[in-house]
Amino acid sequence: MTASIGRRTALSLPLAALAVSAGRARAQQKEAFRFGALMPTTGPEAGYGLDFVKTYEMAVKDINDKGGVNGHPLEMLVLDTQAKPEIAINAANKLIDVDKVPLIITAWSSVVKAAAPIGNRTKTLELNMGANSPDIANLGDYVYTVFPLAEVDVTALAKYTYAKLGKKRAAVLYINNDTGIGGAKIYRDVFTAAGGEVVAFEGYDPKATDFTGVLLKARVGNPDVVHIHGLSELPQVIAQMRQLGMQQQITSYSAGYNPKILSQLGPAAEGLIVTSLAPTSAANPNVAKLLELWKQVGRFPNGLPYLQYAWDSTVVVAQIYGWVDKNGLPLTGENCRKALLAIREFDLPMTGKLVIRDDHRIDKPVYLYVVKDNKFVLLDTVA
């Protein structure tokens, strides 16, 4: 009996392995479908950029392990942008002219904007998966977003701050680049339209290390909430604000939903309200799987909600390529755009339903988090 089971097991194991790898093998036989990614893998924003790339790799592997795109393996080509537009232009040209990719995924507002004219001119589809400047909706026929632009979470936050938190006087401080300017303007306009008063509206240099001046300008206006629309310098701004004795409520957007802020600020982060545009692992079991994959990397990733969009943008690419292939069309940027608009509704594993609108915008629920006992705790969800 024992010997019989052993033989069966011995026979069945290779067969099982063969079956599991059949899809992978099929995917490897056909020509690869390639797409480009413009990400900061060096420079100050690389902390996020490298984690985006790692997540794309995980998603591409997952897709290929399941048989690829109609049997074609999916392949990603990543070029570094340092989150700088001038570098992004060269990288986009290389991906389009040399590597001949029909589709590029990008992030960081200035990079998305810099690559947009190239995408429009060469009819290469550009998908934004992490930048939130509202201008992205108006960059041309070949630029779409799968990530909600600032008007989604910043509008929700500004309205919530006024209506639910009862804050009437806001100071708005922002990093002087596309991300900061766009987001800050939306916050100012929405907060004012809701009935509040913006008592200070100040930008600071992206390379600044001393924020005393802008903070004092904000303090003079006697605000009851300070909204900071920054990037990696956000902890320093908050630290200096608290050290100046300013105890007002602080809000920020999704860039603030970062565990590093908690370690750098400690108790000074208490009460900070930030936004997130993706559900947590408690609400979506697929997110737990992503976190499991990151456990193998050996650390908690930077900007988890962004990584959920990174995964999902790869799925969107695969579905676009699948539609083009299924309809017997050549894999060009024009056909990718046609596919995007034909599919229009995507059911995505990490962030749920995505609907591509004609105005190049998308809607998503906004999750508001507050720092409590040095942890991000869900405060409210704004649909």
């Binding site: 690389a46 320093q236 750098q264």
Partner: protein
């Protein structure tokens, strides 16, 4: 914004924030004076100093004094190595100033690339927390970091002043700075003076990097920007005037801080380059304010000579 407390706060924070600016400027001005070298390699030394502190304190969890000590030793060692195996070689070959300049720039870029490979490019701080306890004095917030920064800077500048004015090595450095060939005829070792100025610069750089890195995030490409600001202060203070350059550094930092009263904060960085532009065009030897102070003691001698 014209409230006295606010003005005092801007003044206090501006002075505190100028501390590392002053230390980097003095380090740069010292090597420029003694070695006649536009030493952009100091950006590389800053990177080495920062990541040594970062690694020893965060990865191997050494106590702060040991981590800082290790940074001083390593940075000084690299400074000596660069002097002995590179700068001295170029000097022996009578290389042009441009070759020195390019070499120091390339050295810094090389260090930045190596540090990028080793530590990545995410902004890091020396300690995990960037918070510092604060006390309010007369309505002005003074953090422990502010006091520490001012204390470290004043002590180091006082020691440097004493070293230059009251020790033989300091006077030998000045002699070499004045005329290295003549100094050597008098038996002064120019090589020793160069090494000493490099070591002093390394100590100043470590102190500056410690102050900067405990307050703001550092990436491998940050130091080259810090050296550029030191260059601006050195040019404004006047070439060859170490302590004038330090005063210029404080002046520029305060100018930037107080500019918030007149211009939007996003233009503050531009102001430095604006000042540099006008300083280079109008006062190529430095702004005269710093020179008048040195010119005064010479007057009686000139009168006496005229009387003779």
């Amino acid at each position: 914004m014209t409230d006295p407390v606010i003005l005092l706060q801007i003044l206090w924070t501006g002075i505190a924030m100028s501390s590392y600016f002053v230390l980097f400027t003095v380090a740069f001005a010292l090597t420029l004076k003694v070695e006649k070298l536009w030493n952009f390699a100091q950006a590389g030394l800053m990177g080495i100093a920062f990541y040594t502190m970062f690694y020893t304190l965060n990865a191997v969890h050494w106590p702060p004094w040991l981590g800082v000590g290790a940074a001083v030793v390593l940075t000084a060692a690299v400074s000596i190595a660069v002097e002995v195996w590179a700068i001295a070689v170029l000097r022996r070959r009578h290389s042009s100033g441009l070759i020195f300049f390019i070499f120091t720039l390339i050295f810094s870029q090389l260090v930045a690339f190596v540090l990028t490979l080793m530590f990545g490019t995410e902004p890091e701080t020396i300690f995990p927390s960037v918070m510092s306890p604060v006390r309010i004095v007369g309505g002005v917030a003074m953090s422990d970091w502010d006091l520490q920064a001012l204390g470290v800077t004043v002590v180091l500048l006082a020691v440097l002043y004493w070293l230059i004015r009251h020790t033989r090595d300091g006077q030998f450095m000045l002699a070499v700075a004045d005329n290295d060939k003549l100094a050597e005829i008098y038996g002064i070792s120019a090589k020793r003076a160069y090494l000493l100025s490099g070591i002093i610069a390394a100590v100043l750089i470590c102190a500056g990097v410690y102050l900067y890195g405990t307050r703001a995030g550092v990436t491998p490409d940050v130091p080259i920007g810090l050296v550029l600001t030191a260059v601006i202060a050195t040019l404004v203070g006047g070439l060859g005037r170490i302590f004038s350059a330090a005063i210029a550094a404080v002046g520029l930092a305060l100018l930037q801080s107080f500019s918030i009263l007149f211009i939007p904060a996003k233009w503050q960085a531009l102001l430095l380059y604006f000042v540099l532009f006008f300083a280079l065009v109008l006062f190529p030897r430095g702004i005269p304010v710093w020179r008048i102070r040195r010119a005064k003691p010479l007057a009686p001698i000139a009168v006496a000579q005229a009387g003779d």
